[in-house]
Structure formats: C-alpha cells, structure tokens
C-alpha cells in the first residue's frame, strides 16, 4: 500500500541536517526582478492608460469602466485564491505544501488592495456615474423598478459602502495575521506560531467564505439587479481557487528558472500543484454547469434573462469557449502525468487558465455594457475588445508589480516552519 497511504511517518518529523544547504540565501531569497518590475510597470501604465484613454474614444466610457472592473475582479479572484489556499493549508496542517505557502501568502496580502481597485468603479457609479454599470445605482431604475424597490434594504448606497469596508477589514485581518505569523516564524523559529495560524484559519475560513460570497454578490451579481443565484458566491469562489493556483504556478516556475527553490519546490510539488489545478478545473465546471443547468432547465424568466443576453449577438461563442476552454481543454491536458511534472508545460497551462479565467470575468461583466434590459444596439464581444485586453494587461501589470515587490521582501519559503522537512521530503510514489 505504500503508494496509497504513502509511507508511514515517524512520530517525530525528520529534521535532517542535510537540508540546511537548501536553505542558503541564494536559494530562498529573490533579489533580482528589477527589469521585471520595469516590465510590469510599463504594462500597468500602458494597459491602464489605454483603458482610461478609451473612455474618451469611440468605444466610450461605459466600455472602459466595464473592462476595468472585469480586470479588477479577475485579479481580486487570484488574490483571494491565495488566501483560500493559505487558509486551507493551515487548517489541514498540510506538510507537503509548506514550500509553496509563502507564495500563496504573497498573493493573499493583495486581496485588500485589489478590493480597493475593484471598488473604484462601483464608488464612481454611486457618486458620479449614476449607475452606468451597476444598474441599481441608476436613478431611473431606483425610481421605476418594482423589483429594485424590494431589494432596497440591501442594495442601497450606505449599506453597500459598509459592506465594502467590512470585506476590506476581514481580508486585511486575515492576510495581516497569517502573513505576520509566517514571517515572524522565519525570524523567531517559534513552532507554536503554526498552531496560532491554524486557529486564525479556522474562523478565517468562515469569514472568508461569507465575505467572498457577499463580495461577489455586491461586485458582480448586483450589476444586473434582477438576477439572483444562490450559487453565485460558490461560482466566484471556484474562480478564485482556479486562478489562485494558476497564479502560484506563474510565480513558482519563473523563480525556479531564476535558479531559486532548488530541492524545495521539486517536480513532486509541481505534480501535486497540477492536481490542484485539475481539481479546481473540474470544480469550476461542476459549479458552472450546475448553475447554468438548473436555470436553463427550470426556465424561470428572471433567471434566464441573465444567460439569454449572454447567448446571442456573438456572446454564444464566448459561452462555448468557456465550456471548452475552462473545462475540457485543461481537463484533458492536466490528466497527463508528464504535464503536471514539467514546469514549462504547467506554466503554459497556467497561462491558459488565467486567460480563460479573465474570459469568464469578461463573460460576466462586459455584456452589461449593451445588453442590459435589451437597451442599446447589441455589441458583439469582439467590438472594441482591445479595451478589454488593455485593461487585463494593465491590471496584471499592476498585480505583477506588487507581487515582485512582495516576493523580494521575504524568503521564498517559510524558513523555519516545523513541517518544512516533510515538504522537502515530499514524494508522490506514483
């Protein structure tokens, strides 16, 4: 049974002195990245600059803010994915993934930052833009819509702002505490910090689940205030885990390329990360299918309207692209053992996963530009797509810039985690 139950473990973890050489500074600290920062800065300036500029061009203001919001929600999902994996690894007292956890933590700390970025558009809509993207903020609908009247206790400006602050507070506390414990352990070597992190993760997971679900209601679902789905929070959560693990690969693999993490993140770890990518590909498909299928089957007008506008005027191609690209393609590719164990192949799949993740956000947000309440001329997904690409490009540049700074600021792994030896010795045996 050795491959199933893996090997029996010692009651006391193996603290082998032969691992010391792996923890040398040149292996666990990243000091380069100057040119990478410049690249990301250029990306951010060009991309976000082009998005803002497009507001004054033929594509219009609404398209620009929709693209910006789509990109921000995509990046927020990646950061929340990092938070989810950090929480779950602490909760399960995972040993194998200790050498990966720091990079999840680095993603996690930017969740509050990306929330601020993702709050720009709704706050603009609320105070200046008169609900151009978030229709419930629009005076016309607030006056006329009976459905909206019923939701006014939830969808009203003051409560909305309070909720945004609440999400910010929750994510900041979780990120600050968990990242703090981890970094303090690097310095003090106090193994009991692991138990504190585990306790934080227990209530943190509950707070994370509720805040992520309601944030997805507020920032995505409420754009079309008529639409509702109990699955929505789970759907956005599936995207966070899906994109978070892809983002991890795109941090780890370049670091390995730069000669870091030798013997710490091996093909054994990549193999298991590949399995996580596979898992959340299937999980996303399960959630997305269940949501779509139940709405399609029951055919209740106030629900189907959301999908109806996303299955015409060219959007049906995006719909099918998601079905194939968000599920079938990564599913089939990640089945292969060789892919999961090859850094290059895994990085390529991760790039694809991020691409399709942003396509998913595009599918949710962009139709709001023209298809709301069947007003305006239908706009195909291809029309003015350069704005969307620029926004994603710029937002990834911004997140990349932040990440490079963060990755450089601390060791690449939790250096003195008591379960580190387990991670170093991790093997799959299959």
């Amino acid at each position: 049974m050795s491959s199933i139950a893996s090997h029996g473990h010692d009651a006391v973890l193996h603290n082998d002195q032969s691992h010391e050489h792996l923890l040398r500074d040149s292996n666990v600290r990243y000091t380069g990245g100057g040119s990478l920062s410049t690249l990301f800065l250029v990306m951010a300036v060009l991309g976000l600059g082009a998005t803002i500029a497009s507001a004054f061009m033929y594509t219009g203001k609404l398209h620009a803010i929709a693209s910006f919001q789509m990109a921000a929600m995509g990046c927020l999902a990646m950061c929340l994915g990092g938070m989810f994996f950090t929480l779950v690894m602490h909760l399960m007292a995972a040993g194998w993934s200790i050498t990966l956890r720091r990079q999840f933590e680095n993603l996690m700390v930017f969740a509050p930052v990306m929330l601020i970025v993702a709050s720009i558009v709704p706050l603009y809509d609320l105070f200046i833009g008169n609900g151009s993207l978030y229709l419930w903020m629009n005076d016309k609908y607030r006056a006329d819509s009976i459905v909206l009247q019923k939701k006014i206790d939830f969808l009203n400006p003051s409560f909305f702002c309070v909720r945004l602050m609440l999400y910010f507070f929750i994510w900041t506390v979780i990120a600050w505490k968990l990242s703090g414990y981890s970094r303090r352990q690097d310095e003090t070597g106090d193994k009991w910090l692991s138990n504190k992190a585990r306790f934080t993760s227990a209530w943190g997971m509950l707070a994370f689940a509720l805040s992520t679900a309601f944030a997805s209601f507020d920032l995505l679902m409420s754009m079309d205030f008529r639409f509702f789905s109990t699955m929505w929070g789970v759907y956005y959560f599936a995207s966070t885990a899906f994109s978070g693990v892809a983002a991890l690969v795109l941090i780890i693999v370049p670091l390995r390329r730069a000669g870091k993490l030798e013997g710490l993140v091996t093909s054994e770890h990549l193999h298991d990360v590949g399995k996580l990518m596979f898992t959340f590909t299937v999980f996303w498909a399960y959630i997305a299918f269940s949501q779509y299928f139940l709405i399609w089957y029951s055919n209740v007008p106030e629900e189907t309207v959301w999908y109806l506008v996303r299955k015409r005027d060219g959007w049906q191609f995006v719909f099918f692209l998601l079905a194939i690209g968000h599920f079938i393609v990564p599913f089939l590719i990640l089945l292969f053992r060789g892919v999961k164990r090859s850094p290059t192949a895994l990085a390529i799949v991760a790039i694809w996963m991020l691409f399709i993740h942003f396509t998913d956000m595009f599918f949710i947000v962009r139709p709001m530009v023209t298809t709301r309440f069947a007003e305006g001329t239908p706009l195909s997904p291809a029309a003015g797509i350069w704005v969307d690409l620029a926004a994603v490009f710029g937002m990834l540049g911004l997140l990349g810039l932040l990440l490079v700074w963060r990755v450089r600021s601390s060791p690449l792994i939790p250096l003195r985690d008591p379960r580190l030896p387990e991670a170093i010795e991790h093997k799959n045996y299959v």
């Binding site: 049974m1 090997h7 473990h9 939701k151 789970v234 379960r419």
Partner: protein, 525 residues
C-alpha cells in the same frame, strides 16, 4: 516464553495463544490516549501502543475469527427483528397500496423520498473517506475507511428500497430502467428521476467494487490463517457438533473464494495499488454526482424552496455531514466493544471526524443562509413567503427549527477542543446531526409541497404507522448488515494500517536491542 521477541509474545496473547497482560506503553502527558499531540513539529501516531505488523494482523483477524463479545448476539437479534418488522410493513404496503402511507394528493412525495435521500446521503461519507481522502493522502483514513465503505454499501441498499416500493405497482418496477420499448414507452430521459436510477446504481456498483477490491488481500490473510490452523491441528471447532466439518475449513473455502486467488506477490500488490488509485479517481466525481443528481430531482422544478442553484454542492456537503455523523455513531460504540480497537481508532481519529462535521455543518449552514438571503433578495414573493412564513413560522416550523438546531447549532460545540476529543460528546452531537439531516430532507420535501401556489391546495402530511414502521425497519436492515460485517469481514484494511506504522517508514531506525528500547521492524521487513 522469555526467549520470545516482545512483539511475538504480545501477538500470542492477542491471539489467545498465551496468557498474561498485554504490555503497556507510557503515554506522553497531556495527549489523551497518546494521539492528541498539539506540537506542530510532531505528527500524532495513528496506531497506539507500539503495535507491530503482526499485532495488527492478530487484532483485525481476531474480530472475524474469534467469537464476539456477549453484546453481539442480542444486538443482532434486536436489529434483525426490527428489520423483519420493517419487511412486514413493506409487504403490507405492497398488498394494500401506497394509500397506506400518509401522503396525499398535495404532499405526494413525503416520508419515502425523505428516507431515500437520507440513506443515500449517509453513504457519502464512506466514499469521501475511501476516495477523496485517499487522493488527498490523509493517512488517518486507513483506520476508518473499510467500515465507512461497508456503511456506504448498506446505506445504498436501504436507500434503494424506497424508490423500489414507492411506485405502488411493484410489478412495474422494471419501468425504472430504460429497457427497450417492449411497452411502447420509453422512460423520460429528460427527467432527473431517471438519471437518479443511473447515478445510484453506478454509485452502488463502484462503491461495492471499491470495498470488495480493498478486502481481497485481507480475505487472503483470513484464508491463509484458517488453512494454516487446519494443517497444524487435526482437531478444532466444528461448524455443528455432530458435523465433521471444521469451521476453519469453511473459512478457508469461503474466504479463499472471496480472495480470488490472491497470493501476496509483489505483482499483485502493484496492480492492486494502481486499481485502487483508479477506483479512487472514478469514485471522487461519483460521490459528487450522485447527490447532485438527487438534488436535481428538486432543483429542476420551479417549486419555491426546491428551485435554487446552490442545491448540488449543498446536498453533497450535507450528505458528507450526515454520513460522518453515522460513521461516528457506529465506530464510537464499536471501539468500546471490540478489544484493542482503541489502538487503531484513536481519539485523534474521532477529533478529525468531529472537525469534518464542524466544517461540513457550516457549509450546510452557509447554504441555508444563502437560500434564505436569496429568497428575500430575489424579490420573488412565493420564494420569500416560503422561507419566512412557511418554513420558519408555518405548521412545520418545529421541523425547520429542529433542523437548524441539530445541523447548525449543535456542531458548533466542536469549536471547543474538549468537545472534539470526548467520544461521548461527539457521539451525542452525531445523534443530533443524524436527526437534523433527516429533518433537512423532510423540511425540503414536505414544506415546499404542503403550501402550493393556491391556498385551496394547502394540506398537511402526517406519517402513518406504515411510514414509520418502514423507516425504522430500514434502520434495522442497516444495523443488521453492519453487525454482520463487524462479525465476519476484515474491519480494517490491514495492509494500509501497517503502512502508517512508524516501522513502515524507510526512515525508521529501531532502537538498538539491549538498550532497553522496544524494537520494531523485525517482522514484515
């Protein structure tokens, strides 16, 4: 005797071949039975009391070979009687028709479907432990996977009874299956009810294969031990006093037949491991699909309280929640009743399962609150009326609040460490959870149906004696089968338990003989 290796002498005592006390080993203070280690640098032992490989074989085979305690036969007799009373009610139902149940024109799905969903859900914990925890390399699963898988099979058997008998005309039961149109009628392939037939039968088949395949090496061990005793000893216990047939001969043949020619060759093991992994991979989507499709039975409708998109993952989480409660309900008494079982199912195992109950209970609570919130947020008056007036305040409000109390409130005690680590408290909470999960299905099914869109159609459901008798009977069937399993089959996967012993690790360095330490790793290497 003094020349025997300590392992050997302990094993002989376990096997009843020698008298004397079993050796005891010091337990570090503050760790309960020795498994409740808080130190993050130390992994808790999964098997206590320094058991050797041979000890494990003796303990596990002992359950199937030696007569059980005095408790077994009365308990078996009781559950068998209950099962038979249930059978009588089923026969009465078939003779009389389903009018014998309390359902009516409005509440036309009630107790039967509640029981079906309840039992199907119970089974999910077994598949979760055997498949998903296997893929996640959770080593503690090895102590509980076999009995949880067995429970899955028995729960599926109980569940399958209800769709079979609820159709009213039993001679038409084959209509459930898409048998080519001998009656010029095809089943409705667009109906989730038909998918249920596929889902549950696939699930039952794969779960059975998984369970059975895992037992093959253990059957072979039981076969070889019986065979060895036959060869060594001309006299031995007989099946019946006047029959010249020895019990071990029956064992050797029956277990030998079940072992399918297993010879413990490395090639066998290799194929076994690959097959195990493949089956775990297949079972993982299965465990999700089965209860998702059960949830489709409700969620594809447009009935308030039934049509909601979160149903599939919510049902799956609820199933795992209820299933783990049932695993604990069965194993906490078992580890008290069977000798040495506490060495294999430690307090750490109980605590881990309590944590899973807490986690899945909160997923279920999350789903309840999402349903409630979205019912209000949707602005759909029927949906919000159902939740605020029918479920929370209507005539079945007692059932709704029972569900909330049992499923959401009681598991919260597991935030406290001493509650997770006390088998008694875990057992009591498991009872609550089992009751709560039954009520969850009852609330979903009955409350949505008993208040239709037209008030003229409103009516109540009250169970009859036949309803109650068949449900209690299904509990009897379940317990009867589980008791038979405990008595005759390998209750633990021996090879897997051995693989998590410290001496199975390549890093294990036994203390040098003569230094006073207890040596391991002699046998089996």
């Amino acid at each position: 005797m003094t020349t025997l290796h300590p392992d050997e002498s302990a094993a002989r005592r376990l096997a009843g071949l020698a008298t004397g006390e079993l050796p005891t080993y010091p337990v570090p203070p503050g760790t309960g039975d020795g498994s409740l280690v808080d130190d993050p640098a130390v992994r808790a032992p999964l098997v206590l009391n320094n058991r050797s490989f041979h000890d494990i074989t003796e303990i596990v085979c002992g359950y199937a070979e030696k007569p059980p305690g005095k408790w077994w036969l009365p308990l078996f007799g009781l559950s068998f009687t209950i099962a038979q009373i249930g059978t009588l009610f089923i026969i009465y139902l078939i003779i009389t028709g389903i009018g014998a149940w309390g359902m009516n024109n409005q509440v036309d799905w009630a107790w039967d479907i509640t029981n079906f969903v309840f039992w199907i859900g119970i089974g999910h914990a077994g598949t979760l432990i055997s498949a998903i925890l296997c893929l996640l390399k959770q080593k503690w699963r090895t102590a509980v996977n076999r009995s949880a898988e067995a429970m899955t099979i028995f729960a599926v058997i109980c569940a399958a009874t209800f769709p079979g008998i609820h159709i009213g005309r039993q001679w038409m039961a084959w209509f459930l299956f898409p048998i080519p149109n001998s009656n010029a009628i095809w089943p409705n392939f667009k109906s989730p009810l038909l998918w249920d037939v596929f889902a549950v039968s696939t699930y039952g088949t794969v779960s059975f294969l998984f369970w059975y395949m895992g037992m093959i090496p253990d059957f072979a061990t039981l076969r070889d031990r019986a065979d060895l005793r036959l060869r060594r000893n001309a006299e031995g216990p007989r099946v019946l006093p006047f029959l010249a047939l020895r019990t071990d001969a029956v064992r050797a043949y029956v277990y030998g037949f079940l072992a399918l020619g297993w010879r413990f060759s490395s090639r066998h093991w290799h194929r076994y491991e690959v097959a195990y992994l493949v089956l775990a991979g297949i079972s993982t989507p299965l465990v999700l699909s089965v209860h998702s499709i059960v949830s489709f039975d409700f969620a594809t409708s447009i009935l308030p309280g039934w049509h909601t998109t979160i149903f599939p993952p919510y049902f799956v989480a609820g199933a795992i929640f209820g299933g783990f409660a049932m695993v604990l309900l069965l194993l906490i008494p078992a580890r008290e009743l069977f000798p040495n079982m506490k060495d294999l199912i430690t307090l750490r195992h109980i605590e881990n399962m309590a944590k899973i109950i807490l986690a899945t209970g909160m997923i279920v609570g999350f789903a309840y609150s999402m349903e409630f919130f979205i019912a209000w947020y949707s602005g759909n008056e029927y949906e919000s009326f159902l939740f605020t007036h029918v479920r929370a305040q209507g005539p079945y409000a007692w059932a709704y609040w029972t569900m909330i109390f049992c499923n959401v409130v009681t598991p919260q005690v597991f935030w406290l460490k001493f509650c997770r680590q006390s088998p008694m408290i875990v057992f009591i909470v498991s009872i609550f959870v089992t009751i709560g999960m039954w009520f969850e299905r009852f609330v979903i099914i009955v409350t949505s149906l008993h208040r239709a869109f037209l008030p003229a159609e409103w009516s109540m459901f009250w169970p009859t004696a036949v309803d109650i008798g068949i449900f209690v009977g299904s509990c009897g069937i379940f317990l009867t089968l589980f008791l038979l399993f405990l008595r005759f089959l390998p209750v633990f996967a021996m090879a897997e338990v051995k693989a998590v012993l410290p001496q199975a690790s390549p890093h294990h360095h036994p203390p040098h003989p003569g230094t006073g330490g207890h040596e391991h790793g002699k046998d089996g290497h």
